[in-house]
């Protein structure tokens, strides 16, 4: 945002600001407030949609009710912000009108000053006269010229002083406007950034408060950056209910950022993190119950992002993660109990995505995760076991709900393979046949169980664990 107005006589702009841009912001806020109001109306219809009953329906309707309350709050915030911005536009317009008048007066005074400065009588000073009468006449002319010069300079100074007073008033009103916006957002704005590190690295942490930028009212941004060598960087920002945080730590390239803004696309909170090697980066954005976070960690290329949007079409949350090798990426977006997350682990390409939408079209939640050897399209038991264990705690609840009856018969046997149940959905290759001896299978598995017992018995399991622990320490020492 900037002014192209010129003030050569005053020498400065006593009322800087782009009224057109500010007026546009006010119109945008008013329009968005209207759309949010429409979204609230749509949610009202959603709440009363028929057919769905039970505990889950009650929980959902309760949550939608809370969302409706939040939307009412958001509507009020935007109306109040619009009022402040419109008021500011009006004040600025009046001050710029005054500034124009002062510039005209200053130009006139400056012209008078230049005229007075060019009065030839000022050159009489120091001259010799042959008679008393001529000397007295010259003295009078010189005094008149210096009087005009002093008066002209005083007039110009007076106008410029009025300009300074106008600028002070402008700054005061602008500060009141910023303070009012902070109050609308729910409290005081505080921002901080910090960075520390070693080995000549480049680190930075920064946070910025509300500003109008690129056609959007940015509520704030926080960033943390880290390049080359070890260290950490952090940026935080709080503005009432809005909390932003960006963090980065590790080595060789990691950055995290978070931000929130109000614009034509509604109220948006977003966060993202990227890590190069041995790094961790995270970003989080929160506004009331609306939150988004992204986090990555690991080695050699990882990134995660998440965003949550509240606009006229409802609440939309999405998260994505991608890792290159030996890394973990996750993204999560939440609104109250509505949550969507995605994560990817392990190596050789892992990506994940998820989304959740609630709006006039109903509720849509989905996600997909891919982990492992994408190239071959095949997941082996041993590699899969690593990913299952690392991500296990995240899905235990869902697994308990959906998995307890997988292919299990009345005798407690699980069935796996061509004759199995849900555990082999998709199956594949059915129709290819193999002739084997079931008795030999029983013998081999019995011997295999015995071999495991011998291996563990020959070297007690606790000793194996201790040996593995020593290896871990050795790895840690190397790293």
């Amino acid at each position: 945002m900037g002014s192209t107005r010129s003030f050569p006589a005053l020498g400065f702009d006593p009322a800087p600001g782009d009224i057109a841009a500010i007026a546009h912001l006010g119109e945008m806020l008013t329009s968005t407030a209207g759309k949010v109001g429409e979204a609230h109306g749509s949610l009202g219809g959603l709440k009363t949609g028929g057919g769905w009953e039970g505990v889950a329906a009650e929980g959902f309707h309760g949550q939608v009710g809370q969302l409706g309350d939040q939307i009412v709050d958001a509507h009020g915030v935007m109306i109040a912000a619009s009022g402040l911005v419109s008021h500011w536009a009006g004040e600025l317009s009046a001050m710029q009108s005054t500034a124009d008048q002062l510039e005209a007066a200053a130009a006139q005074a400056k012209q008078a000053l230049e005229s007075a400065q060019s009065n030839p009588s000022l050159g009489l000073a120091g001259q010799q006269f042959s008679d008393q009468a001529s000397a007295q006449a010259a003295q009078q002319q010189y005094q008149a010229a210096t009087g005009q010069l002093t008066a002209a300079q005083s007039a110009l100074d007076s106008v410029r002083q009025q300009g300074q007073e106008l600028l002070s008033k402008h700054d005061q009103v602008a500060q009141q406007m910023a303070s009012g916006l902070s109050q609308v957002l729910g409290g005081d704005v505080s921002a901080s950034g910090s960075a520390s590190g070693t080995l000549g690295l480049t680190t930075s942490g920064s946070a910025t408060g509300p500003e109008f930028k690129d056609g959007k009212l940015s509520l704030g941004n926080a960033e943390g950056n880290l390049l080359l060598a070890s260290g950490e960087a952090e940026g935080k920002l709080s503005a009432g209910g809005l909390d932003l945080e960006g963090k980065a730590s590790g080595a060789i390239g990691a950055e995290g950022s978070a931000g929130a803004h109000i614009g034509p696309d509604g109220l948006v909170a977003e966060a993202e993190g990227r890590g190069g090697a041995f790094g961790e980066a995270s970003g989080s954005a929160k506004y009331g119950d609306l939150s988004a976070s992204g986090k990555v960690s690991g080695l050699v290329g990882a990134e995660g992002s998440a965003s949550a949007t509240l606009n006229q079409t409802g609440l939309h949350a999405q998260a994505e993660g991608f890792v290159g090798a030996r890394a973990h990426a996750e993204g999560e977006a939440n609104y109250g109990i509505l949550s969507v997350g995605a994560s990817g682990d392990v190596s050789a390409g892992a990506d994940a995505s998820g989304h959740a939408n609630i709006g006039t079209d109903g509720v849509d939640v989905g996600g997909e995760v891919f982990v492992g050897t994408k190239e071959s399209g095949e997941v082996h038991a041993e590699v899969g076991g690593i990913g299952v264990g690392v991500t296990g705690e995240a899905w235990q609840g869902a697994g308990a709900d959906g998995g307890v009856t997988l292919g299990k018969d009345d005798q407690g046997n699980y069935h796996f393979g061509a004759h199995g149940g849900a555990a082999v959905e998709g199956g594949g290759k059915v129709g290819v046949e193999l002739t084997v001896n079931p008795g030999k299978v029983a013998e081999t598995v019995s011997q295999g169980a015995g071999a495991i017992a011998d291996a563990v018995g020959g070297q007690p399991a606790h000793d194996i664990a201790a040996a593995a622990g020593n290896v871990a320490h050795a790895i840690a020492d190397v790293l």
């Binding site: 030996r326 682990d345 392990v346 995760v369 492992g372 997941v379 082996h380 038991a381 041993e382 590699v383 899969g384 076991g385 690593i386 299952v388 264990g389 690392v390 296990g392 705690e393 235990q396 697994g399 308990a400 959906g402 997988l406 299990k408 407690g412 699980y414 069935h415 796996f416 393979g417 061509a418 004759h419 555990a423 082999v424 959905e425 998709g426 290759k429 059915v430 129709g431 290819v432 046949e433 193999l434 002739t435 084997v436 079931p438 030999k440 299978v441 013998e443 081999t444 598995v445 011997q447 295999g448 495991i452 017992a453 291996a455 070297q459 007690p460 194996i464 040996a467 593995a468 290896v471």
Partner: protein, 159 residues
């Protein structure tokens, strides 16, 4: 018996183990996954079952080496603690205990490979992989469960 591929297997899970949908944990749909929630502490011990349809003459030690190589591509410091061959020519087996590090954790993986050779075509075989993955702390208490699990595996004859 003549059966379709993937081979139908039946087995029992010891108490405390819980099956989960494989797709939900990033595994292929034609695998079996069970976890041990009670011992989870930053890592959830798990048993995974998968099959490979092989038409080459790869031996079980070669397949075990392949497994080590796959793990080395995604984890660090993989070392073979023990390897034992068992079974018969018709159904050779191999157990392998590995130590490795992943995601900052020290893990132990106990693998059991069983190759089921087609009686009509010796070059054709299906390899069943049964794997226990656990942390150092979890392994001593769970390896007995894995032995029980392995010994319960049978061809599902539908009887």
């Amino acid at each position: 018996m003549t059966t379709a591929i993937p081979l139908p297997l039946t087995f029992k899970l010891p108490d405390g183990w819980q099956p989960v949908p494989p797709k939900q944990v990033g595994m292929a749909a034609n695998t079996f996954v069970a976890v041990h929630p009670a011992s989870a502490n930053g890592f959830t011990a798990n048993i995974t079952v998968a099959e490979q349809d092989r038409s080459d003459d790869a031996t079980l030690p070669q397949l075990a080496d392949e497994s080590v190589q796959r793990l080395e591509s995604v984890t660090t410091n993989v070392t073979i603690q023990n390897r034992t061959e068992v079974g018969s020519p018709e159904a050779p087996g191999l157990t392998q205990i590995l130590r490795l590090s992943a995601d900052g954790l020290s893990l132990i993986q106990c693998q059991f490979f069983m190759s089921l050779v087609d009686e009509h075509n010796a070059d054709r075989h299906v390899v069943v992989e049964l794997t226990l993955t656990a942390t150092n702390d979890q392994f001593p208490d769970l390896v007995g469960d894995f032995q029980t699990f392995v010994s319960s595996v049978r061809l599902d004859t539908g009887e």
